[in-house]
């Protein structure tokens, strides 16, 4: 469970807060999606919650532990973070990338052992790409790379998972595949998952809770019915949006 209380964050000398008094809770066993326009602070929020930045005010507690008191190793045993822009220079094998997730379980001078290899291969099988384990990561397609990174997060064995736009570079089918996979993992491993997305349709279809985020502030948060309405989305994106359907939501922009 993630609890955030009155969190504010300023980049360096900036006068304007990037995160302004954010208070939210993410329950265990749920997928919560942060939805918001570019530059609204979604990524900044994820990075603050993952402990990359030191926040000026407010408290973050992950599974009951205050984030600021944790060392980087303790933190990554608790949280795995999947970055948005991922660029690898060296042509590593897929299994070597997944093994990196074991870093926080190994001592400084240690290298992965057989147990870690087995875990990495299991993680690859879980996401359905066990056959790719010996392939070169840099030569995979965007969708396959994203699956490898999810496998790496799994191999990290941390109860909380952050994913920054996990489907942004994928085609329609792969977007669905990855989001379905995230739901499967969630139910099998009882994780707490927080992701950012751009597509409100995808968010409505795959999330338990949604946080609408704008200018560093929470516009609205809650379940799908509470957050995905014509009014809230129009306010969020500043374009006319209509939401139809009961249960399954269908979101469309007007004036196209």
């Amino acid at each position: 469970m993630i609890e955030v209380n009155q969190l504010s964050f300023y980049y360096n000398e900036s006068e304007v807060p990037s995160l302004d008094n954010v208070t939210m809770t993410v329950q265990k066993g749920t997928v919560t999606t942060i939805l918001g326009p570019n530059g609204s602070g979604k990524t900044t929020l994820l990075k603050c919650l993952a402990g990359f930045y030191k926040t000026q005010t407010g408290e973050i507690s992950i599974n009951g532990r205050n984030l600021t008191t944790l060392s980087s190793v303790q933190r990554s045993r608790l949280i795995s973070y999947m970055p948005q822009n991922h660029h690898t220079v060296f042509p590593y094998r897929v299994v070597d990338i997944v093994l990196m997730g074991r870093s926080c379980h190994l001592s400084l001078f240690a290298a992965p052992r057989k147990k870690d290899y087995d875990l990495a291969l299991d993680a690859l099988k879980t996401v359905g790409i066990g056959r790719l384990s010996q392939r070169i990561y840099t030569k995979l397609s965007g969708g396959e790379k994203q699956l490898v990174l999810i496998a790496r997060s799994l191999a990290q064995e941390s109860p909380v998972m952050f994913m920054d736009e996990p489907i942004s570079h994928l085609d329609y089918k792969n977007q669905i595949t990855v989001l379905r996979l995230i739901r499967t993992i969630l139910s099998e491993h009882k994780l707490t998952i927080l992701i950012t997305l751009h597509d409100p349709n995808m968010a409505a279809a795959f999330s338990d809770e949604i946080v609408l985020f704008k200018n560093g502030k929470i516009l609205r948060k809650g379940n799908i019915a509470e957050t995905i309405t014509s009014g809230t989305l129009t306010e969020l994106y500043e374009i006319k949006i209509t939401v139809s359907g009961e249960g399954k939501k269908m979101i469309q922009p007007l004036d196209v």
Partner: protein, 343 residues
Amino acid sequence: MQAKQPLTSRDMFIWPLMLMLLIASFLVSLSIGAYHIPITDIFTSLFQSISGMRKGTAAITTMETALYEIRIPRIILAIAVGMSLAGSGVSLQALFRNPLIDPFILGVSAGAALGAALSLAFLPHIPVQIASFVCGLSAVTLALFLARSRREVPVLSLILAGIVVSSLFSAGIAVIQLMVDPYRLGSIIFWLMGSLTNASWKVIVSVVPLMVFGLVLLHLMRWRLNILSMGEEEARALGMNAACYRTIIIVIASLLTALSVSVCGIIGWVGLMVPHMARLIVGSEHKRLVPFTILSGGIFMLWVDTLARGLTDFEIPVGIITSLCGAPFFMFLLKRSREIWES
């Protein structure tokens, strides 16, 4: 699916093979040089010394003087320097996420060269080795200091700072070269070309233990280089304090480079070429790559130096040979790199 274990069958062959190659190169290199020593004589002499069968009064022959006082120290130094430069190169390439980085990028070589030039030209009472070692490390420190902003050292700034420091120190060397007399100019130029002629047991005692220490540390941290090569943010996400580890590795790599340069001048290209050749053979994964690169560096340097002293009657500075091999190799690499590095 067949699970690939940490130890593959190729691994089982490759390490003994490399060790055997190193030992064989050592022995062959012993016999080559201005003064040819047949391998059988070397075996006899080595065997006698090791087993203590030498008769106390037996005179030490010229051959044995050449063997024990000149050739063996030189070979050991060549191996140690090759290992250090290659080890330093491979770890900095990982750290800076750039396969075209060489160990001299942070200004070590220019600093060391300035130190050596100062000592050769104006400060004869300070040994060249010490002057170049101190100046080499000072140059890196300066680069780190210049690049530092808000308690962090961004990679790009660090590389730029290294280039700036290098060019500053090179300008200093040029000024010294203009000022000194032709005789001293000659010794500075010879030093800049890089050579292992200074090898002796004394030199070995002063640098090799530290080199071994640095190489062992790099070897122990080799798997972490994979993670550091993913960039700072990912390293942090995976539970590594990237800034701290990066500083540690820069310090070790600079130490190894400065030690090498201080005893044998600037021997270019080894730190760039050897890691690449190693990557072609064992792949990019650093758990295998680092030890393989270190061993290859030792063997490569040993052979290049053997050529330097065996090819002609006079000694060719080994730096010239590595540069002669290096430039064409780099062109080959650029051609090839299109397929390797493009994703």
